[in-house]
Symmetry: C2
Subunit: 239 residues, 2 copies
DNA sequence: TCGTCAATTTGGTCTATACCAAAAATCAAG
DNA sequence: CTTGATTTTTGGTATAGACCAAATTGACGA
């Protein structure tokens, strides 16, 4: 599939991209409205939107529903092996992190969780859902399941910080091994709603299983990231 | 942003998704044409396309330019730490892999590569571009740079197999450490063209730096994957 | 049987218009 | 100054039509 400048929406795309690259529009700033870009570019609104969608998947801009289009801030770098916690590594990159606990409840182990935790069905588990933001933009939703028998009373703690440090400090639970799965995905339903984005936008799903020194599963975590907000960096020794 | 069934394009999406999930349309099969789906659903073509775009970012369907929409096959699982090679792990998952060498040339080290390889500017490097396919669908483009002084004559070898094993067998070069960067990205320009997809579709960029036992950079590799074709799985010990 | 060329089908792009609901801005009242 | 209601703006959805170029199909001829 060729491109070339014969395609109008790519021309509009380039115009907007140039204004961002040139510093006329800075990260976090709002773009002119679609109808304004339409008259500026002398094209139909559909064509303007085509260009905006293009820039969106490139991670250059993002949208707030019915509010407008904004210039994306740079992504944060995330190393799943260095799990010193979201708050600290976001701050280390000069950004302002925020964690909100959306819900925390005690649940019972179902078949799937029994498989993951090697625990009997019906065993107590904690289920925590959190939203994490950078510079006031929600960037990920995480759904955490913890073996309640290992950390009784966990959900009575304040969980708006690092969960790992709570487990370490208050329960003496250290993580010895991590299994991490990542896959590009579409952000749908509840996740899209909580991230306040249009359902169907691309994202990255990160699934982490944490084991203690005895090989027992301590925590199972699934994160849904905005596609434009992170860069994963892993440094590993080959086995 | 709520959805609900009031949105027509989500209704059309669900209809098509149901036909796929129900087995009426199988992986690799072509969907009815947009104009056909339009009359079946009693909606405008734009609405049908909206539904198709939705399914596309979800990885359920993919398109071949001006040929039609097809049901996506399942993704392959990819573990960057277990680098036994694309060919063997794709085959192990019951799929048919193919590697094509798009180009292989000797280049000289520029400033960026000098940084990465810790080599002087002007030092000889090999640059290899390959396309890799699964079941006849191109899923990734890779661009590999190798230190030519470590592997003289490398590009005279057949490179349609595992590069790692060539380095190991013919040059005695083993990889001791891997640095892997991953980020969601848009597939653009040359990459999109070589993958034969529409420029701007979401993808995953994987950047790998391979070190030998002495800590010297042997290989620098950048891969561009279709977003719907892989699942990354990493098993790591916490440091 | 095999290739060639023409006709058809298909997705890709573009215009113009319309209406809706959420968000933002404005204005009025306390 | 704050609060609440109203108006305006904004993006989101949907329709209907048009033209193009690439891909596919089918007919034809060697």
């Amino acid at each position: 599939m060729q491109q070339s400048e014969s395609l109008q929406y790519l021309g509009v795309r380039d115009d907007i991209a140039a204004r961002i690259a040139g510093g006329e529009l800075k990260p976090g700033e709002r773009l002119p409205s679609e109808r304004q870009l339409q008259v500026e570019g002398g094209v139909a609104r559909g064509t303007v939107r085509e260009a905006l969608f293009q820039l969106e998947v490139e991670g250059v801009i993002y949208r707030k529903d019915r509010s407008g289009w904004y210039v994306s801030p740079p992504p944060v770098v995330y190393d799943p092996t260095r799990w010193e916690g979201f708050m600290s590594y976001v701050e280390a990159q000069g950004r302002r992190p925020l964690t909100e606990t959306l819900s925390k409840t005690e649940i019972v182990c179902d078949a799937m969780m029994a498989q993951i935790f090697s625990r009997p069905i019906g065993a107590p588990l904690y289920w925590i859902r959190r939203r994490r933001s950078i510079d006031d933009r929600a960037v990920l939703i995480e759904s955490i399941v913890v073996d309640a028998s290992l950390a009784p009373g966990l959900i009575d703690h304040d969980l708006d910080g690092s969960l790992t440090s709570v487990l370490k400090t208050d329960y003496g639970i250290g993580v010895a091994r991590n299994k991490v799965d990542m896959r590009p995905c579409a952000l749908l339903g509840q996740e899209a709603e909580d991230l306040r984005i249009k359902s169907g936008l691309p994202g990255l799903s990160v699934e982490r299983t944490c084991y203690n020194a005895q090989g027992r599963v301590v925590e199972f975590d699934r994160e849904y990231w905005r596609h434009d907000s992170l860069k994963v960096s892993v440094d590993i020794r080959v086995r």
